[in-house]
Symmetry: C2
Subunit: 407 residues, 2 copies
């Protein structure tokens, strides 16, 4: 470990880690399994358009998630847009959605011709709640609520569904973070009209790129099957417009291997999370966003808030120091979606209506986890953060200036 | 070969081919190359978000197509939608586009918030021309022309570009069929503001799924790079809305291998095309859509028109007989896009304005080509088509009734 402040990499010294430690990297299966699986695929000479591996992957997802249907798609953004069309949300309609979410949640609405109604969250959970949603239900043109199970923790699905039913509007969830997680003992996947998962390369269950929509609604599933490719599925049911969300056999092959390793990868990440919690327990101004006790969780993200006053430095300053040491922590979400193009100019009315979101956007960060992050790495990262806290007073104001990228 | 009419599979007999011969199937590289390439990818542990293979694939595409930029995307449909946003086509704007095209051409416009203005084609080329486009330029709200280089033959890019310039509207092309083809000696890829290619599994150059946008316009290229993923590319230029069109390293690995085999695969398909032309030369009522003489071509599709009067049977009847024999020929386009949902109800004004399109939709079919179709297969398919022609009179009216799938 660095002994003196002057040894920090932020001043131009060598970083503590020779190689960059990204916050998310791919969880690979063994090469032997990978090679066997791709050889079979190759021999079949069938590479896309709902092949046998895709069907097998869908069946296994249904079993994991306890849903009647799991429809895999090119990626989760497209899956969200297709979900909007599957739910027959009208072009020009408005959807209540958190601003504190990955950009794609809101962009997917835009691509489906819908407008976001940005909703604040509670500090405690980082999630929208019936209380934060209720005042927005009177906005003219609201046709749906899109909840986000951020960091794998579930929204109050029952409370939100009750509100949606009362108003006769749709409710669905962005569950990109929440594969394998439960809410009140039930698997996420079966809440609302449908839920959308991501299998991006950095997700704990991955098909390199990819996503899926889960539902228990027979009619919606059939509409989604028709929406998934340009020609539909013989157009057995009416849909507003076909899309393009096909999943390749290469994605399915990878997804199936990832599914086999899923319990093992979750358990390893759980251990990593505990090491971080242990290592940073004594540091003032650090709060972990931990899984809800009693629920099953995937532990894919280690998320914490930095309270500048107690920690002694802002989250942004800490991030810069860690990045210089090759610890690629990531800030979330900078800025909130209501402050991003095109929304900040299209919908300026939300600029000062989301105080919790705005506050959290200054505090939240993710630290590296996943297959390549060793116990030793975590020990070093925790030591480094404690070291920064100890010397926070001296560091404050001494850091070189940095320009923010344009948003 | 079948000797008697009664031996045809359409009556329930065994098909002439034991296995189905699809009209398009994947052109695979050798397993050894594939395995080596994926092993390298695996070792790098980097699977998506503009990795090294993606960059290499883009560079090689630029060299093949002679364009300054080639931006690879998830698939060609998404590439077309992103192109619309890159060109800043306004939501609610109208785009002149042929109805005689793959569904995704038009659906991509819809997903970008644009309306199609359906344009007829000339019988000779199956393409829109300045003459078919000109009368539509006065439609209020027209902001662009989207030409389609159908079957790899180029639209009159110069004539159409002249029209677009006169009206100060955008022009771009769907070149999904046209990789490696030339127009007046220049590679398709550099016409209009941009062109969109497909690398779907059934394309002669394939990344299993995938597509790309080519352009020589620096600003447009930078906008497209920002449009390609949810967070853009640090948002270095203003864009209307980010999209999700990322290309995985697995797609790039496959694409690079396919690129190596591309000249070989084109040459093999050229030979297949000549075998079909030879084999069906003497049959009345069959017209081939051949590559324009003097141009380079990829020969990926063998397309023909069936004139019922001279051939003795309709295209649809011939298709059914061939399908029963496991020759999976395909009809194009059934029906034209102006007769498909949602366009037939949204824009009923085009119902009777596209006589050439409507006529061709009854006549055009594609016969199997590609890596798995042997010379012997083609001989048998040609024999079969000649046999059907010889007995057309007896067959007519004797075929069992079949229900059309709902469109």
């Amino acid at each position: 470990m660095k002994k003196n402040l002057s040894e920090l990499a932020i001043w131009g010294n060598s970083p503590i880690f020779e190689n960059q430690i990204p916050v998310g990297q791919i969880n690979l299966p063994s090469w032997e399994y990978f090679c066997d699986s791709f050889h079979d695929l190759f021999e079949r000479r069938y590479y896309t358009n709902h092949g046998v591996l895709t069907q097998e992957f869908e069946e296994k997802l249904c079993r994991l998630l306890g849903t009647r249907y799991a429809l895999v798609m090119t990626n989760a953004t497209i899956a969200l847009s297709l979900a909007c069309k599957g739910l027959n949300l009208p072009v020009g309609g408005k959807v209540i959605v958190p601003s504190f979410t990955f950009a794609a949640t809101v962009q997917a609405l835009s691509w489906a011709g819908l407008e976001p109604v940005f909703c604040d969250i509670t500090h405690h959970s980082h999630l929208i709640t019936p209380d934060t949603v209720a005042p927005l239900l009177d906005t003219p043109g609201v046709c749906a609520i899109l909840g986000v199970h951020l960091w794998g923790n579930a929204c109050d699905a029952d409370g939100l569904t009750k509100l949606a039913k009362e108003r006769d509007i749709s409710i669905f969830f962005d569950a990109a973070h929440a594969i394998g997680c439960t809410h009140r003992g039930f698997s996420i996947g079966g809440f609302g009209s449908c839920e959308v998962f991501s299998f991006h390369g950095t997700k704990i269950l991955t098909s390199t790129e990819g996503g899926c929509i889960t539902t228990n609604d027979d009619d919606l599933a059939e509409r989604l099957r028709n929406l998934r490719s340009s020609y539909g599925r013989r157009m057995t049911v009416p849909i507003p417009i076909a899309g393009y969300g096909r999943f390749s056999e290469a994605q399915a092959a990878f997804g199936l291997l990832s599914l086999e390793d899923f319990p093992k990868n979750c358990a390893a990440n759980e251990k990593r999370m505990h090491l971080y919690v242990e290592g940073l327990r004594a540091v003032p101004g650090i709060r972990f966003l931990l899984p809800t006790p009693g629920e099953r969780h995937n532990y894919q993200y280690v998320v914490l808030e930095i309270e500048e006053k107690e920690f002694g430095l802002s989250r942004d300053a800490l991030v810069r120091i860690l990045e210089a040491e090759n610890v690629l922590v990531r800030r979330y979400f900078v800025p909130g979606m209501h402050r991003c193009v095109p929304y900040k100019t299209q919908f300026p009315q939300y600029m000062n209506t989301l105080p919790v979101t705005d506050a959290l956007c200054e505090k939240v960060m993710q630290v590296p986890s996943g297959q390549r992050v060793t116990d030793g790495d975590i020990t070093v990262i925790c030591d480094l953060i404690r070291f920064v806290h100890t010397h926070a007073k001296k560091l404050k104001g001494a850091l070189p200036k940095r320009e923010e990228p344009q948003q």
